[in-house]
Amino acid sequence: MIAAPEVDLISLAPVLVLSVFTMLVMLMDLFIGKNKSALVLVALTGLLMAAVSSFAKTDWPVASFGGSYVVDHMSVFFTMIFCLSSALAILLSVDYNQREKIRVGEYYSLILFCTVGMIILASSTDLIMIFLGIEIVSLCLYVLAGIRRGDSRSNEAALKYFLLGAFATGFLLYGMTLLYGSTGTTKLAGIAEALSSGEALEQPLLLMGMVLLVAGFGFKVASVPFHMWTPDVYQGAPTPVTAFMAVGPKAAAFAAFFRVFTEAMPGLAPSWEMLLSIVAVITMFVGNLGAIMQTNIKRLLAYSSISHAGYILIAIIAKSSLASSALVFYMLAYAFMTFGAFGIVILLGRDGKENLELEDYSGLGFQAPLLGLAMSIFLLSLGGLPPLAGFVAKFYIFQAALNEGYVVLVVLAVLNSAISFYYYLRVIVFMYMKEPKGELKVSMTPITLLVIIIGILGTVELGLFPGPVLTLAHP
C-alpha cells in the first residue's frame, strides 16, 4: 500500500500557473497567424499571475513536500524578481526578435520555462530539486543563447555555455552526492541537522563535497574561476537573452547558493566562509580588471556582472537575515539597472549591425541626450554612485557584511567599486567626450523604450526612496 504523498499544490501555485501559461503560449503559437504579439500578452499575463499567486500562502515560511519545497520570504521575493526580470526580458525581446527574425513562440515559452525553473530553484530545499531547477534553467538558457541559429556567434555561445555548463553540472552533482553521502539525506534541513550533531562533520568527504558545490554554484553565478564562460556567452547570446541571463538565472542561482550554504551547512561555515571570501575577492578583482580592457559593450557588461557576483557573494558570506534581504534587494536593483543598460544596447543596434563596440557610442550623449543620460544613470548605478539603486544595494550588502564583522572584505569590495568606475566612466567618456564617427541613428522602438523607462524609474526610485522596498525585503 502506497502512502498518499504529501502534496501542497497551493505552495506550488506560481510554478503551476506559469507552467500552464507556458504551454498556453506554445499552443497558441501554433494556432495564431503571423502576428505573434498576442503571445507577449499571454506570457506577461502568466508572469503577472505567477507573481500574484506567489502570495497564495502568506503564513511564511511554509514547508511542503516533506521539506523539499518552501514558501518563505526569500522565495516569494525572488519569485517577484524572476517574474519582473522575465517580463522585462520579454518586453525587451519584442522589437529585437522582430529585427533579428527570431521565432517567438518557442522563445517566449523557453523564457517562461526558465522562469519556472528559477522559481523552483529559489523555493527548493532539497538537493534533488535544486539540481533539477538548475538544470531546467540551464537547458533553457543553452537554447536561448543559441537561438539565433544563423549566427555563428550565437552558436558558439550556446556550445560553450552548454559544454562548460554540463561540465560544471558534473561537479555540482558530485558535490551534492558527497554531501548526501556524508549526511544521508538530500533535504537541506536534514543535512543541517546531521551536521549540527557534529558526527557528520568528521566525514572526510564532506569538505570535498563542499568545495565541489562551491565550484558548481560558482559556475552558475559566474564567480571566478568558474566564470570563464560568461564574457563569451554574454557576448554571443542575443542581447535580450544576455540581459535575462545576467539577472534572472543569476538571481536564482544565488538564491539556491544562499540556501544551500546558509541553511544546509551553517555547521561548516568557518571553512566555506574562507573559501567564498577568497572566491568573492578574486571574482571582484577579475571582473573589474577584465572589464577595463573591453571594447565591446556586451563583454564589458559581462565582466561587470562577474564583478557584481563578487559583491553578492559577500552577502552569502555574511549569511544573516540582513544579508538575505540585502541579496534580494541587490538583485532587484541589479535587475533594473541591467535591463535598462541592455535596453539601450539593443536600441543602438540596427539591422545587420549591432553597434556593440564602444566606438559606436561616441557622441551619443549629445545626439540623443536622453538616451545618453539614461545610459549614464545605469552605468553609474552599476558602479554604485549615490543616489542610485546600485549604491543603496551595495550599501545594504556592505552593511550586512560589516554587521558580521567582515571589514577587510568590505574594504576590498569598496576598492573594487572604485576600479569599476573606471570602465563605467569609460563608456561615458565615449558617449560624451569623443566625437561621433558618423551620424548616429537610433530607432526609438517603443517597447524597448518602455523597458528603459522602467529601468530608470526603478533605478532612481530604489536609489532615492528605497524605504518601501526595504521594508518588504526585510523579513
Partner: protein, 661 residues
C-alpha cells in the same frame, strides 16, 4: 575734541591720491595727476604738523593717545584693532615720511614728466606713502606689519617700474623676496610676542615687557632676534642687504624716498619701537651692534669700488643704516633715530642730486663717463656737496652730530670694537663720498660728446635746495654736550624710558619662583655706572672730524691730485677685485640658495612629483591595466582552456580548504 582723531587722515590722503591716480590717472592728464599726487603727502604733512603741535601740549606722564578705527581681527581672546598711535616716536617718523615724501613727490613731477605711465608712478608712490604711514603709525605689530609688507610691495612695483627691463624686474622680485625672508622672521617674532604677552599692542607689550620677560632669557632673545632679522630684511643689513643695491633699477626719486629716506629705515624704527623688548635681551643687542657695525664697515668698502653713481649711494645707505643699528645695539635709540632723520635729509638730497645729474645726462649713471660737471649743474653741485659733507660728518653739518653721537655711545655703552668699526666706517665713508663728488663734478670731463648736460628745472632743484638746507641744519635737533638741549632726546624720552631695575628685579623674582636664584646686580650696577663724559665726547668729535677730513684728503689725493694712481694700485689686486665684485655675496647666495632651490624644485617637480607621487598614482593605474590584460588574457576563447581553468580553480579551492582545516 582731540586732534588725534585726525590721525586717520594722514594715511588716508595718500591712499585717496593713489586710488584716483591709479584708476583715472590716464584719463585726467598729467598735470592733474601731479596735483593729486602731491596734494596727498602735503596734506598729510599738514595734518602731521597739527598732530605734532597738539602733542607739544600733551600732559607729561599720561599715556599717548591712540586712535582705534575698528576691530580688525578678532579670534577668541585675540583682538587686534586697526588703530594708530600718535606718540613722539611715530610723530618723528611721520614728519620725516610726509615731509621728505612731499619734497620727493614734487621733485618727481619734474623727473618723471616724460614717462608714459606717469600716473602709475604716482599711484605707486602715494600707495607707498600710505603703507609707510601705516607702518609708523600703527599701534600694534600687525598694523605695522601691513605697512611693513605694503612698503615692500610698493618698493617692488617701483623698482620694477621700468618693467620692460629684465634687470629692473629681477631687482623688484629680489627686493620683495629678500624682504619676505625678513618678514618671515618678523611674523615669527609677532607670534612669539603673542604667545608670551597674549597681545600685540605696542603699549601693552612694552609696558608688560619688563615684568613678563626674563632678562636675557631664551624667550626674550629669540623674539628679539626674530624681530631683528625682520629688520635686517627691510633695512638691508647683513645678511639680507643684497637687494638694496639692485633696487637702484627704479627711478631715482624712488631710490631717494624708499631706498634711502624712509622704507629702509623702517627696521630701525621697529627696533626702537620695541626697545623695551630689546632691552631685555642683551645677547640680541650685541648681535645687533655687531651686525650694524659690520654692515657699516662692509658696505662702505664696497662703496669705494662702485662706478654707478646710484650704487655708490646705495652702499652708502646700507652703511649708514648700519650705523643706526649700531646705535640701537648699544641702546642709544635716540642716536639711531637722530641719525635716521639726518640721514633722511642728506641721503634724499644725494639721491635727488644724482637724479638731477642722471636726468641732465640723459640717463647716464656711470661716473667714469662724467667728470667736471659742476659747471653744468651748479645748484645740483652745491646741494650735493653740502649733503656729502653732511654724510662725511664735518662740523656743523647734520651728519656730524648724529654720527658722533652714535660713535660716542658705541664707545661708552658698548666697547672699543664697536667704536673701531664705526670710526673706520666713517673714514671710508668720507673717502668714497668724496670720490664720488670728485669723479662726478670735478676733474676732466669724460662726458660722451653726444650728451649735452643741463641743469634740471626748478621743480627739481627746489627740493634739492630744501633738502640741502635740512642736511645742513638738521643737527639742531640733537645738539650734544649741553644737557637739555638735545631736543630729540627729550622728545623721545617718554617713549624710550625703560626701568632696568624693575625689570631685573622682576626677572630675579620669576626665576626664583622656579628655583633659580640668579642675581642681576652686576648688570644693574654696570648700567647705572655709565655717566656722560663730556670731555670724552669732545675728544671723540674732534678725532672723528679728523678722520673724516683724512678720508676727504685721501679722496682728493687719489682722484684730483693723481687720478691715474687708483687704477695702477688696484690693478690685479685680488683684494680689490673681491671688493669690486661686492665680495661675491650675490654670487654666493646664488650658488648656495637660489640655484639649489631652483634646481631642487625642478627636481622635485619633474622627478618627485611627476614621477614619484604622481608616478605612484599612475603606476597603480598601470598595474591595474597590466592585471587587467592578464585577467582577460585567460579568456582565450577556447572552451577547453576554460574547462582547464575551472579545474585549476577547483583544485586551488581544494588545497585552500585543506590548508584551512
Amino acid at each position: 575734541m582731540s586732534f588725534v582723531s585726525l590721525a586717520f587722515l594722514v594715511p588716508l590722503f595718500p591712499l585717496i591720491g593713489s586710488i584716483i591716480n591709479g584708476f583715472f590717472g590716464l584719463k585726467i592728464g598729467k598735470d592733474r595727476v601731479s596735483w593729486v599726487a602731491c596734494a596727498g603727502p602735503v596734506m598729510s604733512f599738514a595734518v602731521t604738523l597739527i598732530l605734532l603741535f597738539s602733542t607739544f601740549f600733551h600732559p607729561e606722564g599720561t599715556p599717548y593717545p591712540e586712535q582705534s578705527l575698528f576691530t580688525w581681527i578678532a579670534a577668541g581672546d585675540l583682538v587686534i584693532d586697526f588703530g594708530f598711535q600718535i606718540d613722539p616716536l611715530s610723530l618723528v617718523m611721520m614728519m620725516v615720511v610726509t615731509g621728505v615724501g612731499s619734497i620727493i613727490h614734487i621733485y618727481s613731477i619734474g623727473y618723471m614728466y616724460e614717462e608714459y605711465s606717469y600716473y602709475r608712478y604716482f599711484a605707486y608712490l602715494n600707495l607707498f606713502l600710505f603703507s609707510m604711514l601705516l607702518l609708523v603709525m600703527g599701534n600694534n605689530l600687525l598694523v605695522m606689519f601691513i605697512g611693513w609688507e605694503g612698503v615692500g610691495v610698493c618698493s617692488y612695483f617701483l623698482i620694477g617700474y621700468y618693467f620692460e627691463k629684465k634687470s629692473a624686474c629681477d631687482a623688484g622680485v629680489k627686493a620683495f623676496v629678500v624682504n619676505r625672508v625678513g618678514d618671515f622672521a618678523f611674523l615669527l617674532g609677532i607670534f612669539g610676542i603673542f604667545k608670551m604677552f597674549g597681545t600685540i599692542d605696542f603699549t601693552e607689550v612694552m609696558t608688560a615687557a619688563p615684568t613678563t620677560l626674563i632678562y636675557d632669557g631664551e624667550a626674550a632673545t629669540l623674539i628679539t632676534l626674530a624681530l631683528f632679522i625682520g629688520a635686517t630684511g627691510k633695512s638691508a643689513q647683513i645678511p639680507l642687504y643684497t637687494w638694496l643695491p639692485d633696487a637702484m633699477e627704479g627711478p631715482t626719486p624712488v631710490s631717494a624716498l624708499i631706498h634711502a629716506a624712509t622704507m629702509v629705515t623702517a627696521g630701525v624704527y621697529m627696533v626702537v619701537r620695541c626697545s623695551a623688548l630689546f632691552n631685555m635681551a642683551p645677547l640680541t643687542m650685541m648681535i645687533i651692534a655687531l651686525v650694524g657695525g659690520g654692515t657699516a664697515l662692509f658696505a662702505a668698502t664696497i662703496g669705494c669700488t662702485q662706478w654707478d653713481i646710484k650704487r655708490v649711494l646705495a652702499y652708502s645707505t646700507v652703511s649708514q643704516i648700519g650705523y643706526m643699528f649700531l646705535a640701537c645695539g648699544v641702546g642709544a635709540y635716540t642716536a639711531a633715530i637722530f641719525h635716521l632723520v639726518t640721514h633722511a635729509f642728506f641721503k634724499a638730497c644725494l639721491f635727488l642730486g644724482s637724479g638731477s645729474v642722471i636726468h641732465g645726462m640723459h640717463h647716464e649713471q656711470d661716473i667714469r663717463k662724467m667728470g667736471g660737471l659742476k659747471d653744468h649743474f651748479p645748484i645740483t653741485y652745491v646741494t650735493f656737496l653740502v649733503s656729502t659733507i653732511a654724510i662725511a660728518g664735518i662740523f656743523p653739518f647734520s651728519g656730524f652730530f648724529s654720527k658722533d653721537e652714535i660713535l660716542y655711545h658705541a664707545l661708552m655703552d658698548g666697547n672699543v670694537i664697536y667704536w673701531g668699526m664705526g670710526i673706520s666706517g666713517a673714514f671710508i665713508t668720507a673717502f668714497y663720498m668724496f670720490r664720488l663728488v670728485f669723479l662726478t663734478f670735478h676733474g676732466p670731463s669724460h662726458v660722451d660728446p653726444h650728451v649735452h648736460p643741463h641743469e634740471s628745472p626748478k621743480v627739481m632743484t627746489l627740493p634739492l635746495i630744501i633738502l640741502a638746507f635740512l642736511a645742513l641744519t638738521g643737527g639742531i635737533l640733537g645738539i650734544p654736550l649741553i644737557h637739555g638741549w638735545h631736543v630729540l632726546h627729550n622728545w623721545l624720552e617718554p617713549v624710550l624710558a625703560f626701568d632696568l631695575e624693575t625689570a631685573l628685579h622682576a626677572s630675579e623674582v620669576m626665576l626664583a619662583e622656579h628655583g633659580h636664584h640668579t642675581s642681576f646686580a652686576e648688570v644693574l650696577h654696570e648700567a647705572q655706572n655709565k655717566s656722560h663724559n663730556i670731555w670724552l665726547e669732545i675728544t671723540l668729535m674732534i678725532f672723528s672730524v679728523g678722520v673724516a677730513l683724512a678720508g676727504i684728503a685721501t679722496a682728493w689725493f687719489f682722484y684730483i691730485k693723481k687720478p691715474e694712481l687708483p687704477g695702477k694700485l688696484t690693478k690685479g689686486q685680488w683684494g680689490f677685485d673681491l671688493v669690486e665684485n661686492k665680495y661675491y655675496v650675490d654670487e654666493f647666495y646664488d650658488e648656495t640658495i637660489v640655484k639649489p632651490v631652483v634646481k631642487g624644485s625642478d627636481l622635485l617637480w619633474r622627478q618627485a612629483d611627476a614621477r614619484g607621487v604622481d608616478g605612484v598614482v599612475n603606476g597603480v593605474a598601470w598595474v591595474i591595466k597590466l592585471f587587467s590584460r592578464a585577467a582577460s588574457s585567460f579568456q582565450s576563447g577556447f572552451v577547453r582552456n576554460y574547462a582547464l581553468i575551472m579545474v585549476m580553480g577547483f583544485i586551488f579551492l581544494m588545497i585552500v580548504s585543506q590548508i584551512e582545516i
